[in-house]
Amino acid sequence: MIEGRDPNLVKELIELGGADLVKCYQCGTCIADCPTGFSETPLSAKRLIHIVKLGLREKLLEEETPWMCVTCGGCEERCPREAEPFEIVLAIRRWQCKEDDTFVPLALGEIFARGHTQNVLNPIRKEIGLPEIVTVANNHEAMQKFREMLKETNVYKRYSYIFREE
């Protein structure tokens, strides 16, 4: 093993949902139309895949670009190898969360606390004649069940400090 290079990195990414990354032949089609190309520090699925294949753990952990993805699916549609670059971007985020807790989005806690990323009980509803919200945000019994289900997940077990019942 060359110093700093870890051949297991590919396997770890495959397990986290990037199964098709071995198909990538570095053509760069995925970056041609990526919206983040407007940035001076764009997200390049091609480059990230290369880093994974080289086994450069530290370099991959430094990358903030996976979090720029707008989830537009452009790369996924156009990749000639069906390497599923968008799924790989998500898999890299998961790997980063696993390596370093500070990557884990706090929105997870919001969803656990109220079922949504934000407060969906907008008072305007009544004014304009919308029916009452019936999602978990307004249904105690369903909310309890929803939380019980989430407690079964590894995310809950591992990052329990994020999750609070408001």
Partner: protein, 296 residues
Amino acid sequence: MKFCLFLGCNMPAIRPDAELGIRLSLQTLGVEVLDVEGASCCPAFGTFPSVDEDATLAINAWNLANAERKGADIAVQCGSCYSSLKLGRYKLIHGKLEEINQKYLSKVGMRYEGKTDVRHIIDIMHNVIGVDKIKNSLRYSLKGMKVVVQNPCHVLRPSKKVGFDDPENPIALKNIVKALGAEVPRYSRERQCCGGAGGFAKHDKKANLEFLKKKLDAMKDEVDPDCIAVSCITCLMHMDNAQAELRKLGMIDYEIPVFDYCQLLAICQGHDPSKVARIATTPRDAVISKILRNKI
């Protein structure tokens, strides 16, 4: 005909008027709109999908199972919700269903059979209801008006898993806007995404605004439209709100009002614009007055 309306988070939280537009226009077209008790966040890509796939599929399945109990497919407008639920359903019915049911849903007495599907509003309007029925429901029209469309990325790509339209040359949204009587001219950056979803704006605001400006400039220079029709809560909020920022920064000197498709449809069907199109950053009054002068 009945559908379970999936609200997601942004629409009820920030733009409940768009939700009203969807409900009223569907009901006017004879669709029974059902509410899903116990629905939650889809979950959005920046949340559970960025941390753990099993937890993501469990929440997808939770939402699908709740709709399945109502015996109807899901109708959804938000592109991200559509994509999260549709891709989740794809993964479930292509292998993970039993495992997710057993490990998570069964623990709280639930189960997703894989029956309930996820349909986007554009798909329902174009392929289930159809343009003729839409035309017959109108009391006002967009005659004499030019409208450009912004298709939500998430309904087009990846086309094999989520698509119902041609990903390179989508026509469904155009057709249903034309059904309202508008002219829908082509512009060069029609296929460009709005840039509003995910972390792009948060990580590089300047590049994000420049990206959207390119698209808006193409609309303005090539078409000079009365308004933009979208069918995704992120497109609606981003294209509307970011215009104010672009003007403040001196990057653009024009305004293009933005409507959700169902807001335009509901107004054309005679529903109260002060309710179905109440919230906007870029003023829409001129467009609304124009529509109300176009009585059929």
